[in-house]
């Protein structure tokens, strides 16, 4: 199936390029990607998978407060971001760290954020998995679901007003499509032809709420019709298919033709977060059904057919990744918490009297306690 901007909504069957073994489907055309990039992309997928495993284990050991995994959805991270340049903007939700790594967010920065320590780029102000990194145009993540959607429209639109060709990519789950924010964002983007790409990771679940409780629409992509923009349904576990539809969407956006909505059909194989126990609300066999469609295995199969994958190389990069994580973890664990008086920075550009007064109170309190600041309990 050819994906073109002309086609307003794809049929209900999501667009795939690879079969479950990573072989090209009959008639499918893979997007042109240099071999080196194919290998980097594979490594990018692996990094997310391994990082998630390790951080979740860390959380289980009580060394990390909270974590959220993306297992099974990694292709959406890399596929969304690969077709963009560093000037483009990402408005992420909490479940696309692979997009940040791809752009140069370091493992140490990532782990420092999880710890909320003094080297966390967001200064220990937000829960784990709420990253922000201006250097890579990776906008601050918010917990409230869907709020980033109209913001991404504003950023794309601002680029257009500023006569730049930058594109904004906004990620969200299928649960977010139920919010008013989704609606107003999509509608504004349609009206102003904002160069914004709406990337819906339909992973079947919003905490305990299944996809069919979220909407009576046949597909999420179908919602695009109501905003006068193309809606494309893509196999969310097929990295090549995602890159292909993203290429089309990015081209459209840069050509001034406006926004595109992409529904990537995938599956949340893990719990919603480290606090969640999905066995309470869903059949434990359901995730198992998605294992044969694993995005990493499928992409590996493709690399293999191209002669780019060997067992040895695989082992080598896994070892590398593990070593890098260990090193980053060690480095991050040696960083202390932010200084208490940083609590008052960045509320405003300056420090108004009432915050100065409160800051002094806190410093006095700490001094009165003999300079020994109690560490935040867990």
């Amino acid at each position: 199936m050819a994906v073109t901007a002309k086609q307003p909504v794809s049929p209900d069957e999501p667009f795939s390029i690879l079969d479950d073994n990573g072989h090209l489907l009959p008639g499918a055309v893979a997007p042109p990607i240099p071999d080196a990039d194919l290998k980097r992309l594979y490594r990018g997928l692996l990094l997310v998978r391994i990082m998630d495993d390790r951080m979740l284990r860390l959380q289980r050991q009580g060394r990390l407060g909270f974590y959220m995994t993306s297992t099974g959805e990694e292709a959406t991270h890399l596929g969304g971001v690969y077709p963009l340049t560093l000037d483009d903007w990402i408005f992420p939700s909490y479940r696309e760290p692979g997009a940040a790594f791809w752009r140069g967010y370091t493992l140490k920065e990532f782990i420092c954020q999880l710890f909320g320590n003094a080297e966390d780029l967001v200064k220990g102000r937000q829960m784990p998995v709420h990253h922000a990194c201006r250097r890579i145009n990776y906008v601050s993540i918010s917990s409230p679901v869907g709020t980033q959607i109209p913001q991404a429209v504003g950023a794309g639109w601002a680029a257009k007003i500023s006569k730049k060709s930058d594109v904004a990519l906004v990620y969200f789950g299928e649960g977010a499509t139920s919010t008013g924010q989704f609606h107003v964002g999509m509608n504004f983007a349609g009206v102003y032809k904002a160069p914004t790409i709406f990337f819906c990771r339909n992973n079947g679940w919003a905490i305990s709420t299944s996809r069919d409780r979220q909407t009576a629409a046949k597909t999420f992509a179908a919602k695009a019709i109501g905003y006068g923009m193309p809606g494309i349904r893509v196999d969310g576990n097929d990295l090549l298919a995602i890159i292909s539809v993203m290429n089309t969407a990015v081209q459209r956006a840069r050509d001034g033709e406006g926004p595109t909505m992409i529904e990537a059909v995938t599956y949340r194989r893990g719990g919603h977060s480290s606090s969640d126990d999905p066995s309470v609300y869903r059949d434990p066999n359901e995730p198992k059904k998605w294992e044969p469609r694993d995005p990493i295995t499928r992409f590996k199969g493709y690399l293999e057919t191209k002669g780019l994958w060997t067992e040895a190389w695989d082992t080598q990069i896994r070892d590398e990744i593990n070593a890098e994580i260990s090193e980053a973890l060690k480095a991050a664990e040696s960083v202390g918490p932010p200084a208490p008086d940083t609590l008052f920075d960045d509320v405003f550009a300056d420090l108004p009297w009432h915050l100065a007064e409160q800051k002094q109170q806190l410093l006095d309190e700490i001094a009165a306690a003999g300079g020994v600041r109690k560490l935040s309990a867990h």
Partner: protein
């Protein structure tokens, strides 16, 4: 008498009222099969079925907007907002619609909706799983605002709220959801809205608090007693309407006041309390009223213990008030 925590007490109140009154329905994100992310609605789906315990799409405006419509029609909806931090998408439905329906329709359309929502910090939740937005609702005419601090009150106040004729914002102190345990009578009883409770009698200073902070204050009062400060601790329980009588009686006795809440200080509920006390009992005041509150910053993550009023901070503030000449 069974011992319960606050979650169990809330659950018990919901079950009792749903059995008693067919009109009561519970709705919200993940409240059904899952029983709520804090398990406050656990077991209700099994007992009352999907028509009365409703898992909704992810849209707070839809939850409250449809709850308003249900109430107009004659049901008694008890929506849950998963965290108080996520209540703002429904803010318009709450402050412009729910709060004003009876008034704007000339009394023709009351909308008795009880919105339950966990609030407050101390659970390592950062900006968006820690907020205490009670002052926004107290400032909105037409809403009653209730915050229990313990299981007994949680059950009795929730039962009162569900049987009342007015919209109620019922905020549950999630920090002590499980930690605050106590005896709770089986079956039906109510704690009336609008009545504060003196939880510790004392002559030296009046300390006003509610919700999770009540526990911080009790700890502080115990420490203070060792230092010879005899605190009278009042659990306000209902923020609007306030039990001003109980507050003023105490202030007239002690002459000194310390108000504690975790919401940001500026324009917080403590401001109203301080203003009211200074208005009605100025001549009784022997010291400036102390406010111990969250700082005027967004709620932090790593430094939340620095942010939140601690027993030490409350104690220091009580001392300042008591030592003031």
């Amino acid at each position: 008498m069974p011992v319960m925590n606050i979650i169990q007490a809330v659950n018990d109140a919901l079950r009792i009222e749903m059995r008693r009154d067919q009109r009561v329905v519970v709705l919200g994100e993940d409240v059904g099969k899952f029983g709520g992310v804090f398990r406050a609605t656990s077991g209700l789906f099994e007992e009352f079925g999907p028509d009365r315990v409703i898992d909704t799409p992810l849209a707070e405006a839809g939850i409250i907007g449809s709850a308003v419509g249900m109430a107009l029609y004659g049901l008694r909806p008890v929506p849950e907002i998963q965290f108080a931090d996520f209540i703002y998408p429904a803010y318009d439905q709450i402050v412009n619609e729910l709060a004003k329906f009876r008034y704007r329709s000339g009394g023709q359309y009351p909308a008795p909706v009880v919105i339950r929502t966990p609030y407050g910090g101390g659970i390592r939740g950062g900006h968006y799983h820690s907020q205490s937005p009670e002052a926004y609702f107290v400032h909105t005419p037409g809403l009653k605002v209730v915050i229990p601090s313990n299981p007994y009150d949680a059950k009795g106040l929730l039962l009162s709220a569900m049987r009342g004729e007015d919209p109620v914002i019922f905020m549950e102190p999630k920090r002590v959801y499980r930690a605050a345990r106590g005896e709770v009578p089986e079956g039906d009883y109510t704690v009336p809205l609008g009545q504060a409770k003196i939880v510790r009698e004392g002559k030296g200073i009046t300390v006003l608090a509610y919700g999770a902070m009540l526990h911080t204050v009790i700890e502080a009062a115990a420490k203070a007693a060792e230092a010879g400060i005899d605190a009278e601790v009042i659990d306000l329980r209902t923020l609007l309407p306030l039990d001003l009588e109980t507050v003023l009686t105490s202030v007239r006795k002690t002459g000194r006041v310390c108000i504690v809440h975790e919401a940001p200080r500026t324009c917080g509920y403590g401001a109203e309390l301080a203003a009211l006390i200074a208005e009605k009992a100025l001549t009784s005041l022997e010291a400036p009223i102390e406010r111990v509150a969250g700082f005027d910053t967004p709620f932090p993550y790593t430094l939340e213990n620095e942010y939140l009023p601690s027993p030490e901070r409350v104690m220091a503030s009580m001392r300042r008030a008591v030592e003031f000449q």
